[in-house]
């Protein structure tokens, strides 16, 4: 595999007694889109949330194993999660813009990290919105509330917001599943664009979407990875029977 953006080694996640993710070791290529597919409750979202330590916010969650970015194990208690989350952005299923203007939503992250210069912020806002294919639609109303945008626009705003802190990896948890088909297609286009600069890991329930946007696919089942390979291979000629059963709709 070419450059690895992030890799996990024997990653386990427990919620209290229940083990949600079992011994997962995966390498994620940089500047590619990796899709995580599998039935509900298979642990794919939990796995995704571990990668930027969002599971720390859930009381009772315990994560063991290693998550490597370069030569740094970010699952170490000594890791500064604030710096880590700058490097790994995240987008959720439901768009969650802040109750502020479009401009402030984007400028929010950079401000957290100490950028005060107005010109610099303006530039970041324009760049981020442009990359998220939202600049043309919003440039004349940057001071309007972000909540005045449509659902699809809000989701692209959230993507722009995570880009604004210049991460290298973006995690997406079903980013298009709450959107109508047209907005969904736009988000997919955007993902295809973004992979030129960012490594993207996306959880999706929509198998056509996984086939369309990703280069690699991991099939999760009961907290384990059944198969991880090139997307084209997974969807045409999977090695495991369980994968074949799932993608051809025999269960799940």
């Amino acid at each position: 595999m070419q450059n690895v953006a992030l890799s996990t080694k024997d990653l386990n996640v427990f919620y209290g007694e229940k083990q949600a993710v079992k011994n997962i070791s995966l390498d994620f290529a940089s500047r590619e889109v990796t899709a995580l597919i599998g039935p509900s409750g298979c642990g794919k979202s939990t796995f995704l949330r571990s990668l930027n330590r969002m599971n720390d916010l859930i009381s009772g969650a315990k994560i063991t194993g290693d998550i490597w970015i370069g030569d740094q194990n970010i699952n170490d208690q000594k890791t500064d999660v604030v710096l880590l989350r700058q490097k790994i952005g995240m987008v959720w299923q439901r768009p969650n813009p802040f109750h502020k203007s479009i401009y402030e939503n984007i400028a929010f992250g950079p401000r957290y990290h100490g950028i005060r210069d107005k010109k610099k912020l303006d530039q970041i806002v324009e760049d981020s919105l442009t990359k998220a294919a939202l600049w043309d639609e919003t440039k004349d109303r940057l001071n309007r509330s972000a909540l005045s945008l449509s659902g699809g626009q809000q989701q692209r705003l959230c993507i722009a917001r995570s880009i604004a802190v210049s991460p290298s990896i973006i995690l997406m948890d079903e980013p298009a599943s709450a959107l109508d088909p047209i907005s969904s297609a736009k988000v997919e286009e955007l993902i295809a664009d973004l992979k030129r600069e960012y490594s993207i890991i996306i959880v999706t329930h929509n198998m056509q979407q996984a086939a369309r946007v990703s280069q690699k696919t991991a099939f999760f089942l009961m907290g384990e990875v059944v198969e991880y390979d090139d997307t084209s291979k997974i969807f045409t000629n999977p090695s495991e029977k369980r994968t074949d059963d799932y993608i051809s709709g025999r269960f799940g």
């Binding site: 604030v82 439901r94 969650n96 802040f98 502020k100």
Partner: protein
């Protein structure tokens, strides 16, 4: 033709529907009638001091001399208006940061401990009768202020301190509800951008919930504005504008409760007290309108 021979009966569920409608309508009518007659009564009584007794509105609102028994009698209510506003605003200024911080602690920082111990404790605070607050204020706060500051310890500072404890539960419980009702995902969104907990609370949680938090503060102020007994016990009840926060003064409520028994119904002195009650009532309406306005902003 199954029912031939039987009288057509009104079905049971229709009777139930009608009974429900009538009972609820009656309750509403009763409520509305009570409210309107109260407003009407206070207004006619309160306004009669202007129309019947010929007192000048400007004198009541702007005069600083209160001598209802004097020759000629003087009805300047400015000291009471100032007393009411300064005690309730000061009380809100003390209680708002405390209440909002307590709510933050209960919801965001120590949710388990907060829900189990702090919330019941604060609800308990709301159930203590105001006479007890006043008594405690008189025996603890007033002597404390007397020792620390020049003066007798009675006054706006003592009143505001007692009131701030009384309105703390209102502010805290409304703030707790507002914080708990924060749309899911906003906090995560902030954390995922690399914000610390402090930044998330300060820059995301507080601004988003601000209208609801302010609703609690205004409701607390309204309660402080209307509270009579506890304030009357610690404020000193001198009818003039004080020079410091530790000097005896009065509020609209305290002067009404103190003077009510000493006046004859229908007399000029009595009517002026009704005027003060009218001012109190109007102020409460203003508070309610502010709350309404804030709630509408919160829904955006």
């Amino acid at each position: 033709m199954i029912q031939s021979g039987e009288k057509p009966k009104v079905k049971k569920h229709i009777i139930e529907e009608w009974t429900g409608k009538i009972v609820t309508s009656l309750c509403i009518v009763l409520l509305v009638v009570t409210i309107f007659s109260m407003v009407y009564f206070v207004a006619t009584k309160g306004l009669s001091s202007f129309f019947k007794d010929g007192i000048n509105l400007g004198e009541v609102l702007g005069g600083s001399k209160w001598k209802p028994e004097g020759e000629p009698p003087m009805f300047g209510a400015l000291p009471f208006i100032i007393g009411s506003f300064s005690t309730s605003i000061l009380a809100a200024l003390i209680a708002a940061p405390l209440g909002i911080c307590a709510a933050l602690l209960m919801v965001e920082i120590l949710p388990k401990f907060g829900r189990k111990y702090l919330q019941p404790a604060i609800e308990l605070l709301a159930g203590i009768p105001s006479v007890v607050y006043g008594f405690v204020g008189l025996s603890v706060i007033v002597p404390l202020y007397r020792d620390l500051f020049p003066g007798q310890g009675l006054g706006i500072a003592a009143g505001a301190s007692v009131l701030s404890i009384m309105i703390l539960p209102t502010i805290t419980s409304i703030a707790t509800d507002a914080l708990a009702a924060l749309p899911a995902g906003l906090k995560e969104g902030s954390y995922a951008l690399g914000a610390t907990r402090w930044q998330t609370l300060y820059r995301t949680v507080l601004p988003t919930t601000m209208p609801s938090l302010l609703t609690g503060v205004v409701l607390g102020m309204a309660r402080a504005f209307g509270e009579a007994l506890a304030v009357q016990m610690v404020i000193g009840n001198a009818p003039h504008i004080p020079n410091s926060l530790f000097e005896s003064t009065s509020t609209l409520t305290s002067v009404i409760t103190l003077s009510m028994g000493n006046t004859v119904m229908g007399s000029m002195q009595n009517n002026v007290l009704w005027t003060l009650a009218l001012i109190l009532m109007m102020m409460t309406f203003v508070f309610v309108f502010i709350v309404r306005w804030l709630e509408r902003r919160a829904q955006r």
